[in-house]
């Protein structure tokens, strides 16, 4: 009698492992179920040694069932993905993650009370079996997206697994948006260039000199804009590729800021007012010189574009806290309405699309700044007051002595 129950238990253990492997559960879950199966088998074998055929088979089986149920509960609790064990239609067990998402009341309830989705109801009760996961929207919070899978554990028992797909969905939407935005931005100057070329084909008489010159200059401007956009896209992807490696060079911010200010003044017919305010005796920053120069160019460029015409733009460099350096670029422009602030660093996000494009902006400047700051393990803060101006503050880590030591030994 006891022997048959033993064989049954070991059989159950093997079946459990098989089911776990066949159902393509995630690795952690497979290991957990295999472990439970192993424990059941061990217990069955140990019983043979100690009790031999003394215990009645039914009692033994019952005890093994109880321990395996407790072990299954313990294993479910250890997994942080929402999991339900459904017996027939009743929710027999739910781990903490499932109770957090679906509510504390779901244990012992009908599975349809826990998961109100029509397709889910059919799948869980076994009315509509299938391997494809079911997409559920609005469980827990309204805009969360889940993927539901059901794995049979026994004749009436089923394991219901919920995988959070909110992040994947958001990433996918961001990717689609990015492709759409980038193509649109690239197409706009191209359309202008193509139109002008078509017109130029007709305007090649001797009297069309001035028209030709004007069209060519517009074409040059549009081509440059396209080039800037592609450059920006390239530098974005380069910064992203490097983001796991913190830059280790020593960069003196004050001379760099002066250099950038000079470069910005040089281009214009009427040099804008750019003022530098550097605290004395500052240490160097740990950074990448080329990227910090680009960061300053973008910030000062923005301040000139959206600030009061002709300046002033203030660049302030300080050491606000030990180990950090702060670099603030302030303008005296119209400011940015507060509702736009959180989205300013998104790619192609513009507060005023017409104005930004007219100024030759690519919509990528602040996105690049954000990525550079992230790569430098720094912080970016944008404060703005309507009518008073905008201040962008970047916190960067100071170069430590160790950085120098590393460089010397390398």
């Amino acid at each position: 009698m006891a022997r048959t129950s033993r064989i049954l238990l070991i059989g159950l253990a093997i079946v459990l492992t098989g089911v776990a492997l066949a159902a393509e559960l995630p690795r952690a879950l497979t290991v957990a179920i295999a472990l439970a199966a192993g424990l059941i088998a061990m217990r069955a074998l140990r019983r043979t040694a100690v009790e031999d055929d003394a215990a009645p088979a039914a009692e033994l089986a019952l005890a093994a069932q109880a321990t395996s149920a407790a072990e299954l509960a313990a294993i479910l609790q250890a997994i942080d993905e929402p999991l339900l064990v459904v017996e027939g239609r009743r929710v027999a067990q739910a781990n903490a993650a499932a109770r957090a998402v679906l509510g504390e009341h779901i244990v012992e309830e009908d599975a349809r009370v826990a998961l109100r989705h029509p397709a889910a109801a059919d799948r869980i009760t076994g009315a509509a079996p299938g391997d494809r996961p079911i997409e559920l929207v609005g469980i827990g919070e309204r805009d969360r997206r889940w993927e539901l899978r059901v794995h049979p554990l026994g004749p009436t028992q089923r394991l219901v697994r919920l995988a959070d797909r909110t992040g994947v969905y958001a990433t996918e939407r961001m990717r689609v948006d990015f492709v759409a935005n980038a193509s649109h931005e690239l197409r706009t100057p191209l359309a202008a260039i193509l139109g002008l070329i078509e017109t130029l084909e007709d305007a090649n008489g001797p009297g069309d000199e001035t028209v030709r010159a004007r069209f060519l200059s517009v074409m040059l401007k549009e081509a440059r804009r396209m080039q800037r956009l592609i450059d920006d896209l390239l530098s974005l992807s380069r910064i992203e590729a490097d983001k796991y490696r913190a830059p280790q060079d020593r960069v003196a911010l004050a001379p760099l800021a002066a250099e950038v200010a000079d470069a910005c003044r040089a281009g214009a017919a009427e040099p804008p007012k750019i003022m530098l305010d550097v605290a004395p005796g500052l240490p160097d920053a740990a950074g990448d010189r080329a990227q910090l120069s680009q960061l300053l160019h973008n910030l000062v460029g923005n301040a000139l574009k959206y600030g009061k015409p002709g300046g002033p733009v203030r660049i302030a460099i300080k050491a606000p806290s030990p180990g950090m350096l702060s670099l603030a670029v302030a303008d005296e422009g119209d400011g940015v309405p507060p509702e736009h602030l959180p989205r300013l660093t998104e790619r192609f996000y513009r507060v005023d699309p017409g104005r930004s494009r007219a100024g030759g902006g690519t919509g990528l400047g602040l996105a690049i700044v954000k990525h550079i700051v992230e790569r430098h393990r720094g912080r970016l803060d944008i404060a703005s007051a309507i009518g008073k101006g905008t201040t962008v503050t970047v916190l960067l880590p100071q170069a430590t002595v160790e950085v120098l030591g590393e460089r010397l030994s390398a």
């Binding site: 009743r90 349809r112 009370v113």
Partner: protein, 235 residues
């Protein structure tokens, strides 16, 4: 409560659990029909709309099943106190959800008739109104699942927002019809769609009231009503 101690007759517990399961499934289907019908309307998805009309049969079937179940349960188990409230609430909520399903079906049926609705500006008011309404239905059913009187009360308070939406939709459509008499057919259908949504909101409130009653044994007080849209425009 039925599920904290359990009844001496275990089958009674199972009956109650199954009843709640049926109501929840029906609710899930109605929720899907509501959001699906508005989506079909906005995207002009005729197939999706036809699917919703088909699906409504299943909601009606489940409602009939709930009714049979409740009659059997009362006859065999003679439930008392909170059990009786729960059974009665399930019966009434079933009826309410069935109506919500009908309204959603009605919206879906109008999709092919509103072919030129793209020209009717007030159409843009519908999606936000529908999202408020489906949130209400969702929360009311969540409250039912969790036997949660607090959420139920919040649902009742949201109904004012839906009524306000309906009023503004009514006015916007009226103005639109006066200015563009050619779109009167579409605009009238849209008005019915808005009215259906408003009715679904009312029914969600009624569901929430039943949940509150089943959970606490008390009736929720009378809601304050907004100004009548018709009276307001006559002024």
């Amino acid at each position: 409560m039925a599920n904290s101690y359990g009844h001496t007759v275990k089958a009674f517990d199972e009956d109650l659990t199954q009843l709640r399961g049926l109501v929840a499934e029906m609710g899930g289907r109605a929720e899907n029909a509501i959001s699906g019908s508005i989506e079909a309307l906005v995207r002009r998805d005729l197939e999706g709309a036809a699917g919703i009309v088909q699906e409504d049969r299943r909601i009606d079937e489940i409602n009939a099943e709930i009714e049979r179940h409740v009659v059997r349960l009362i006859a065999l188990r003679a439930p008392l106190a909170d059990d009786l409230r729960e059974v009665l609430a399930a019966l009434k909520i079933g009826g309410l959800i069935e109506r919500m399903g009908d309204y959603a079906k009605n919206i879906a049926k109008r999709v092919p008739l509103i072919a030129e609705a793209a020209n009717v500006e007030p159409l843009s008011i519908l999606p936000p109104m529908a999202s408020v309404v489906s949130n209400m239905v969702h929360d009311a059913l969540d409250a039912f699942a969790a036997r949660d009187p607090v959420t139920a009360q919040q649902v009742c308070e949201t109904d004012r927002t839906v009524d306000d939406f309906y009023d503004s939709m009514f006015r916007a459509l009226l103005t639109h019809m006066m200015e563009n008499p050619t779109t009167i057919t579409s605009a009238t259908h849209l008005l019915f769609v808005a009215k259906n949504l408003e009715r679904i909101g009312d029914h969600a409130t009624n569901v929430a009231e039943m949940v509150y009653f089943a959970a606490t044994g008390e009736q929720l007080g009378e809601r304050p009503r907004g100004a009548d849209a018709l009276a307001a425009t006559q002024r």
